[in-house]
Every structure is written in structure tokens, then in C-alpha cells.
Amino acid sequence: MMGKLPKRFVLFGNSEMTSCIGAIKHLQAAIDGELEPELQARVVAHLEACLACGMQAETYREIKASILRANTSELDPAVVSDLERFARQIDTAT
């Protein structure tokens, strides 16, 4: 019966956007860029249209950015060049 309804009335989302359930299910993968482009676009469309899901997504994006900020320290250039030299030594020694 569902198949006879126009696509945009399908309960579980439609061809343009997912439902809330679909958006939340795929939210983490969407934020991590792990979804197929077509599904990614449908999730993003939902997040733009739905305030509650959109805000939740925004918080998750902020958390991801925050984790990156808090765990990224400047690498010591001396250590980096040491390691590069070491890698070349392995390369030439074999």
C-alpha cells in the first residue's frame, strides 16, 4: 500500500530527505564523512529542515572539532627531522 503513495509521503523519509530516525541513525557516519553521497545528501537535507536534529548534529560537530583541538599538539620539528633522517637510513641500508 505504501508503494502507491507519492514518495514524499512515505513515513520513513523520502527521496529528498531521511526521517528523524534515519537522520539520527546515520548522524555519526554523516559527520565522519562515511556515508554514500546520496544518503549523505538526504541526511544533510533533514538536518537543515529539522531544528531538533540539526541542533543535535551541531553539538556533535562541535564535540568532534573540540576533540581534535584538545589532542593536537605541535610536533617538535627536531623530532620530526630526526625521524625523517632515520627513515632515509633504513631506506639506504637495505
Partner: protein, 160 residues
């Protein structure tokens, strides 16, 4: 990337340097075992094994970690005083949330969010199924989000 992960494993620049060198040597010697699929996951697996071995040698563990189902306890990473000053209130809340996670879950979050591994690479590195990676990430982030939302409520912000 190797040095960054080594730093997150050892928390000390000199140890991290040693660990990366050891990883480079080992990977060079065992290059024929590489299946060509996930180079970063392969390198990180070598590094994690090397790190675990060095830990075993340095600190004899009174309890067999395998029998109790836990890995060797590692110090909780803390941001350095220098980076601390640059972190916002939310960052502190997120760091607390991150530190409250089990070490193996925290490691997964760092591999994906900081080192930029794909779910497949993270799964290959940690020897997990991709579905497990997804569900653990989801749970870990939901925990952190709960803290952030509670923190914002306390601060009287109307935003989420």
C-alpha cells in the same frame, strides 16, 4: 601521523620518537606481510604491538591482563599546561568526557577524530568489526554530548 599516535600512546616525546623508529624498522622488515589494503591500519597495528611489548618489559604486571579482560592501564592523557590555556570551557568538558571513557574506547575516538582514520581503518587497527566501531563511537560521543548538554544547562544557555 605515526608520531602523533605515538605521542598519544606514550605521552612523552622521547618515548614517542623511539616508538616511531621501532615501528618504521619493524614495518620495513615485515613489509612482505602487508596485504596492501589499509597501510595506516597496518602501521598502527605494528606500533600498538610494539608499545604493548615495551610496556610489558618495563612494568611486570602482577595480574595477567588477558585473564581479567583488561589491557595494561595507561596514564590518562591530560592536555599540557600550554594547550590548556587555549581551550574553551566546552573543550574542558569534552576532555573530561573523553577521559571518562574506557581506554580502548578513548583510543578509538582519537584514531577517528584526531588521526582521521576511516571506520574501516580503525576497525582493522583495533581488530574490531566495522559495526562495533560504529556503535562504540556512537555511544562514546553520546556520553560526551550528555556532559556538554548538562554543562550548557548549568550555564543557563538555551542552546541544546
Amino acid at each position: 601521523m605515526l608520531l602523533r599516535v605515538a605521542l598519544s600512546l606514550t605521552h612523552q616525546s622521547a618515548d614517542a620518537n623511539d616508538l616511531v623508529q621501532e615501528t618504521m624498522l619493524k614495518s620495513w622488515r615485515s613489509f612482505d606481510t602487508f596485504d596492501g589494503e589499509y597501510p595506516r591500519a597496518w602501521l598502527l597495528t605494528i606500533m600498538r604491538n610494539a608499545h604493548r611489548n615495551s610496556f610489558r618489559k618495563a612494568v611486570p604486571d602482577p595480574v595477567d591482563p588477558v585473564s581479567v579482560g583488561t589491557t595494561v592501564s595507561e596514564p590518562t592523557p591530560q592536555p599540557s599546561a600550554e594547550s590548556e590555556a587555549m581551550l574553551s570551557e566546552m573543550d574542558h568538558c569534552v576532555v573530561e568526557g573523553l577521559n571518562s571513557l574506557k581506554p580502548e574506547v578513548r583510543e578509538l575516538v582519537i584514531l577517528v577524530d584526531v588521526d582521521g582514520l576511516s571506520y574501516r581503518e580503525a576497525a582493522a587497527t583495533l581488530g574490531l568489526a566495522e559495526g562495533t566501531v560504529m556503535s562504540r563511537l556512537h555511544r562514546a560521543r553520546a556520553k560526551i554530548r550528555k556532559r556538554v548538554v548538562a554543562d550548557r544547562k548549568r550555564a543557563g544557555s538555551s542552546q541544546e
